[in-house]
Symmetry: C2
Subunit: 481 residues, 2 copies
Amino acid sequence: MFCGISRRAWRTYSSSALSSSSTTIPPTIKHLLSFPPSVDSLVKTQGHVKAVRSFKNLHFVDLSDGSTHSTLNVVLNGDTNINFKVGQSVSFVGKWVESKGSQDYELLYDSTENEHKAAVIGEVPESYPIQKKSSSYQFLRTLPTLRHRTSSLASVLRLRSFLEGSFQRFFEQNDVIKVSAPLITSSDCEGAGEQFIVEAKDSKPENPFFGKPAYLTVSTQLHLEVLSQSLNRVWALTPCFRAEESHTNRHLSEFWMLEAELSYIESVHQICDFTENMIRYVTQDVVQSIANDLAQSRYNKDERQAMEANWKTILQSEPWPRITYTEAIEIINKIKNKGRSKGRLTWGDSIQTEHEKWLAETHFKSPVFITDYPKAQKPFYMPESENQNSTVACFDLIIPGIGELVGGSVREHNYEKLLQELKNRNMSIEDNEWYLSIRENGTVPHGGFGMGMERLVAFLSGMASIKDVIAFPRTPGSCSC
Amino acid sequence: MFCGISRRAWRTYSSSALSSSSTTIPPTIKHLLSFPPSVDSLVKTQGHVKAVRSFKNLHFVDLSDGSTHSTLNVVLNGDTNINFKVGQSVSFVGKWVESKGSQDYELLYDSTENEHKAAVIGEVPESYPIQKKSSSYQFLRTLPTLRHRTSSLASVLRLRSFLEGSFQRFFEQNDVIKVSAPLITSSDCEGAGEQFIVEAKDSKPENPFFGKPAYLTVSTQLHLEVLSQSLNRVWALTPCFRAEESHTNRHLSEFWMLEAELSYIESVHQICDFTENMIRYVTQDVVQSIANDLAQSRYNKDERQAMEANWKTILQSEPWPRITYTEAIEIINKIKNKGRSKGRLTWGDSIQTEHEKWLAETHFKSPVFITDYPKAQKPFYMPESENQNSTVACFDLIIPGIGELVGGSVREHNYEKLLQELKNRNMSIEDNEWYLSIRENGTVPHGGFGMGMERLVAFLSGMASIKDVIAFPRTPGSCSC
């Protein structure tokens, strides 16, 4: 009655479990290179042709499957009847031998050996656009289903995957529990509008699916605050959405936000400490574990050096500078705007992106925390700064080349003060009843932050546009595949 | 100019980094119990009052912060002027001492010691509904901001967090790269309708934000297939959405789906192997690492035993049975419907949820794979089974008590066959052009699966409703906070 396949008993996984001979799934190229088979053994491998050189009946194929930046070199001796082309998917059975090339090993196919095999799995058209010579990232964006076959963009996706694991380890080590907040919500976290509305395709206006208007979340913060009261420390990595008509290298309509809320926090500097430690931790992890993969995958030396300079900026031995908003305004006026009568900032003005970038890139040459912004510039849930009037206990972390990477604050945990602030801003008490209610039931001081995941990936990979560090970017007018 | 706080130099994190004295964030209760301070040292701790017993001027407070199922026992000797109540948030400074109770250590507060402190951070109203005696999960659903302060639901969120880490490890070990697929999409993966439509709040009908209608994804599969061609093996854990009017314990409008796509797969049994290994791996991990946390957090012995029985069902030494759809129909007719004239199934009928549950719970008493369903019941991208007509190379994994946990298949990788199937089903070639195109450019055989994360969490925690294993469930008519 049962099919005969896979009747083997369960065994505990070793680190190489699936890629080993215990399974019927063929090993990745990463696995073959990391855990090489015995020399002279017969090995089957598959991938895409990355490059090919032919000399009469001798062919050298660089085989890639995207599991690592490394290619497997296949040497084909004798006729294969294959017209090798870059982009083809191919399959080889050959002998695993030591190599004199850049890798320790290579696969040797010999047409006179009966067991050796070479076959094309999938052909490519003559116009296959991903060739060995580099294409601009802008051009590659016109090839959304093919662009991740380039070494460069594949390595960015591997970096992103690695970072998720690194964050997971950092938070686990610090007792921060990963939670999921809803993406469909009836609340508007920032009070800023620019939301997407969600409705069932077939619903009637008088009968909305959720019983009332529902939106895509712009931040999971309010829900994380609820959960931080139950679990002490929580984090989430979730898509967030902004219906802004922005066409920049720094904005997406759908992006991933890493948010954390920590209980028993009373000062904005505790959150700055945590944030700095977190970003240093994952950067250190990247440098230790996948620097080589990233460096080898960059198009050229300039790209590679720019990326490595970014890592050094994060890992500098000095703690990152911290200045208040008020100090930032003074520095910009005194140094950037020195001698100019136009463009001087007045206390209360917004610090523009160009100013933020100047502070980080030119003035401090470092990531920089700007704390204690004017209350009027920030949302209702931020409490007043400890020693200052008219400012709130918050920070933005500014990174060279990127601008704002992280924003965070202490959250007002006093019921009366929060209620008053909602009233002052003419915000709905009813809509925020659930959020207010946690301040009535054993409230605790707490704070947190949100970080744009794509901005961090862009900085650590040295990519100029966040559209190139997310697999399928969503921007105004663009949602085609 | 800089503030004076946290000028310390960066240091590499140890496993107890943030919770140690190197930071200004106070340790969690989990950390205090796992890495106990020196006996007789002065310790500060905070949390919610879980239980309190008083004898004249002697108070015993069980303190919980949700970081672990364990409470910290605080013994208060002398007058504190505090009327302790369950649910209050409190803060204590006292002496760390060895305990004769259930924990190895406890905190001793002595009112005659000047350095010792006891304070209420946040009061609770007299009506605070989360008391020591257990409430029904149904009642707790009416308290969405408070219900995770119960031991039981807090432990389910910790399980969920742990599982994410466990999946991350499993996939890393097997060279499966974590990717993110877009949630806003113009495609309809299953061709099944019942989607949510997304539009900017302020957009005009003649000028849609994305230039055309956009939907919330029902599955990330098609996008993962694109990426698996570039990276060999990929996975994602992402919210997915169904605008179904379902009011069951097994359906949500917004749920988390774990999906994977693996290249160079040719048989459905390779995917079944992978799936079985994955679920066994994470279950083993749960049993080894957090069984105690889960067991201690259950309301009663029955709940605990039911949960532990579910673990044994997964970890049975025998491989899980695999039957074809055709065999399943035969078994149901021969055994379940024996002697009945009504209710007999004919080949081509759907296997209903009640039949699935009967197969897993009663007949096999095991998870069971059902493979090779009739083509007419399944989506366009599934290829025909190897040896059978009119069926496709797919499977559903059925789990006792839950029903379908995982669904997967080989994906048609032949361009002509896929194109023909789209035509046969009168589906839009234009809308699926991008998906088709990967079959024209070095196509590779591949397959994958999708698993409902909430269903797995429900099974491993023994919870009856998936509404209790997601922090803020979204169901028809319900999106209130």
